[in-house]
């Protein structure tokens, strides 16, 4: 027989007093360092570009407050926030449309260096990431190695100094403005799939050449990165030699940030709803999307909460990515639908004058958002690969 009890001891959404106090701190911090005067609609998908002065001031304020790298281990500057605080932080910064930290360096490379790097590597690279001095890019893919990274052909040959890297990397996001890269290269014998290693290096090294790739949205957010005999020290090797594929396979257990996207998406859905007023069909589709955002938010919260318990369900993590992709892409479609004819102008930097927005001030941003959104189901593993991963986890194939 069930014991009589107070049902609110578990399974609840209430904030503790300490969390409520934290929320007040966060709001005050945001109002001070990312004031309404600098806020503007921020696209869901990250555009290519360098942070402006306002963004850099925000990043510096975060570093000074000790909030730049919340998810890192505490000895490297992490905050050890429990789920509730990580969620509140994501929600409040989304509501203020505050800029994201370098998605590559802070979210992924930093945690990898914390987990796998030597003390020297941690001293060499982590402060620059934490203080937002250097942006990072991932030089993993190649023309013949897209979803299948085991086909990487770039070679890292032993040299007097350490290693000499030769090859061509492709679809490297953010390479134009990056100061450093995490590069995947072959240290073992070809053509075996194993034998890959990870290297940390400066983009400014002799022999590194970045060649922009123009993408659908008219920007040059991607690049080919040519490595023409780039000499790096032995200390550039991150993690086990010849063991990079094993590292990448368990990447999401190595402490990357848990992306909380729903609050940000909700900001866009609210904007969409206000523009859909008076159009019943669009309003209905916006409501359907809002239900999907609510479902995504609940999933993101579940995963955060499981992390607090030291649990991790890989199928749910893969599902989260698929749901995020789905909502981002659907949002892009509905934003374009809401634009009407102003979904046509294209922000081609060469052919467009520089006299401000055409039509609505958000039109070009949202069109670009829709176009860039297509890449969400491709980069970081295609949606089909994520489904294979879930199939493997839940079907046992």
């Amino acid at each position: 027989m069930p014991e009589s009890r107070n049902p609110s001891v578990a399974m609840h959404l209430d904030l503790s007093d300490a969390d409520a106090e934290f929320l007040a701190d966060v709001r005050a911090f945001i109002t001070r360092h990312w004031p309404p005067s600098v806020r503007r609609p921020r696209p869901v998908t990250a555009p290519d570009g360098v942070p402006g002065p306002a963004e850099n001031a925000w990043f510096r304020a975060l570093a000074a407050r000790g909030w730049a790298v919340p998810h890192w281990p505490p000895e490297h500057g992490g905050t050890c926030w429990p789920a509730a605080r990580r969620y509140l932080w994501a929600r409040e910064t989304a509501l203020a449309e505050a800029p994201d930290l370098d998605p590559c360096g802070v979210q992924l490379v930093g945690p990898l260096i914390c987990a796998l790097g030597s003390i020297q590597q941690q001293r060499r690279w982590l402060p620059g990431i934490r203080e937002a001095r250097a942006r990072w890019c991932l030089a993993w893919s190649e023309p013949e190695a897209g979803s299948d990274l085991s086909r990487v052909a770039t070679r890292a040959e032993p040299s007097a100094a350490g290693y000499r890297l030769t090859g061509m990397k492709s679809w490297v996001a953010g390479a134009r403005h990056a100061g450093a890269m995490l590069c995947l290269a072959r240290t073992g014998g070809a053509p075996e799939p194993a034998g890959l290693s990870l290297f940390l290096l400066d983009v400014s090294l002799p022999g590194v050449r970045v060649e922009p790739i123009v993408t659908l949205d008219g920007s040059a957010g991607l690049a080919n990165v040519h490595l023409d005999g780039v000499d790096v020290p032995a200390a550039a090797l991150l993690g086990p030699r010849d063991g990079a594929l094993e590292v990448l396979a368990r990447l999401d257990q190595l402490g990357p940030a848990e992306p909380v996207l729903a609050p940000r998406l909700q900001v866009h859905v609210e904007r969409l709803k206000s523009r859909a007023a008076g159009d019943q069909d669009l309003a209905r589709q916006a409501a359907a999307l809002e239900v999907e955002v609510a479902g995504l938010e609940a999933l993101e919260l579940r995963i955060l909460s499981q992390q607090d318990e030291g649990r991790r369900v890989p199928a749910l993590v893969a599902m989260r990515r698929l749901r995020q992709v789905r909502v981002v892409q659907r949002l892009g479609e509905l934003q374009v639908a809401a634009l009407g004819h102003y979904a046509l102008p294209f922000p081609d930097v060469l052919l467009i004058d520089n006299e401000g927005p055409i039509g609505h001030d958000y039109a070009l941003v949202e069109l670009a958002d829709m176009l860039r959104g297509r890449s969400w189901s491709i980069d970081g593993g295609t949606s089909e690969l994520h489904k294979n991963r879930i199939a493997g986890t839940i079907l046992g194939f």
Partner: protein, 376 residues
């Protein structure tokens, strides 16, 4: 903020899961739905003995003080077993209306019987013309001396054939669809002037069409305030949605897992059909639909436990939208991947599908709740 169950909640979940596993085989369930009664009186008594029928009521009313989360936990397990015993109409709906709006005397008179398993209840709220609009009522209740005189007709009253106690919505003032002027009444099923036509529903449960012809009840039959019954009804129905939605989440879990197991063993073209990637990805989609509904179930239950207000209503409607969509996807594809076997009455798959289909309709389907969600 916390998404984990307490020890007591886990215990409750485990005890029902064990009952389903050990004492509720599908073949027995199929016998029950073909019997006149439509469920097992012995099972119902077991539920009472185990304390399950009292879980959602406050301790002061003789219950165990559970909330929405406890109801969710129970119904999810019932959904896994396709349980036909009338927990929803008796405990959640009729008992829920009493819990929310009943006077001390009314609760004392009726809740004890519900908790002990001796009283069956039903919520007679729907009418033929009203579709999902709870305020669309032609049934009337007129003052009659000290008491009331009820006339009208109620459609598809779940558990109508077994109910000892009917909670009836009727109009005491206003026009047919006015939000104001709706009142609730407690009508013993044997009262003179109450007549029923009983039938099975597509999911194997039982329902009735009920006619009220000059049904006279005393003043103690009014449940809640005269004319303000709609708010109570809306809350009871939202609790009902959380309940059937949780059932659907349990049913979807069984369906996707059953389908995965089937595709591992069913061989065609010289290999298990689960080796085909197109089928694997379909099953991944089924898994995700189930998890998406489950996530929104947690949110809806936690919002309901925070107190019944706009946030709770919105979370419930979001959950119901998802349950409708996901239930359809998971149910249809479970049949599809089972092939011809999925179409048979013999396999459980079709019965889960039929339950999911009725759940989409109950208390308002996807379209209805999408509209409500957008307006909240």
């Amino acid at each position: 903020m916390d998404f984990s169950f307490s020890d007591e909640q886990t215990l409750l979940q485990d005890s029902i899961a064990r009952f389903i596993q050990n004492d509720y085989p599908f073949a027995e369930r199929q016998k029950l739905i073909r019997d006149q009664l439509g469920y097992s009186a012995a099972n119902w008594q077991t539920f009472a003995d185990l304390g399950w029928l009292g879980v959602p009521y406050p301790e002061a009313d003789g219950g165990f003080g559970g909330g929405a989360v406890e109801s969710m936990i129970m119904l999810e397990q019932f959904g896994r077993g396709l349980v036909v015993e009338p927990f929803l109409p008796t405990v959640v709906l009729a008992g829920g209306a009493l819990r929310i709006a009943g006077t001390a005397a009314q609760k004392e008179q009726h809740l004890a019987g519900i908790i002990a398993g001796s009283v069956q209840g039903a919520l007679a709220y729907a009418e033929p013309q009203g579709r999902f609009n709870l305020a669309d009522l032609t049934t009337t209740a007129r003052r009659d001396g000290d008491g009331w005189n009820i006339n009208g007709y109620k459609a598809v009253v779940m558990n109508g054939p077994s109910a000892d106690l009917l909670v009836v919505s009727a109009r005491t003032s206003g026009d047919q669809r006015d939000p104001a002027g709706v009142s609730l009444f407690l009508v013993p099923a044997g009262t003179q002037g109450v007549s029923r036509r009983d039938y099975p529903t597509v999911d194997g449960l039982r329902a009735s069409e009920i006619t009220f012809e000059n049904v006279r009840i005393g003043s103690e039959g009014l449940l809640g305030e005269e004319g303000n019954g709609l708010a109570v009804l809306e809350q009871v129905v939202d609790e009902g949605i959380l309940a059937v939605g949780s059932e659907a989440v349990g049913a979807m879990e069984v369906l996707y897992k059953t389908t995965v197991e089937y595709c591992k063993t069913r061989e065609q073209f010289g290999q298990p059909i689960g080796k085909f990637q197109v089928l694997q990805h379909r099953m991944v989609d089924m898994f995700m639909e189930h998890e998406q509904a489950k996530s929104l179930m947690y949110m809806a239950a936690m919002r309901m436990d925070e107190g019944y207000g706009a946030d709770a209503r919105k979370a419930v409607s979001a959950f119901k939208v998802q349950v409708g969509k996901s239930g359809r996807f998971v149910g249809q594809n479970a049949i599809q991947l089972h092939g011809g076997m999925g179409m048979t009455d013999e396999l459980s798959v079709g019965h889960y599908f039929k339950r999911l289909t009725t759940i989409d309709t109950l208390f308002g389907n996807v379209d209805f709740h999408l509209k409500r969600f957008g307006q909240l």
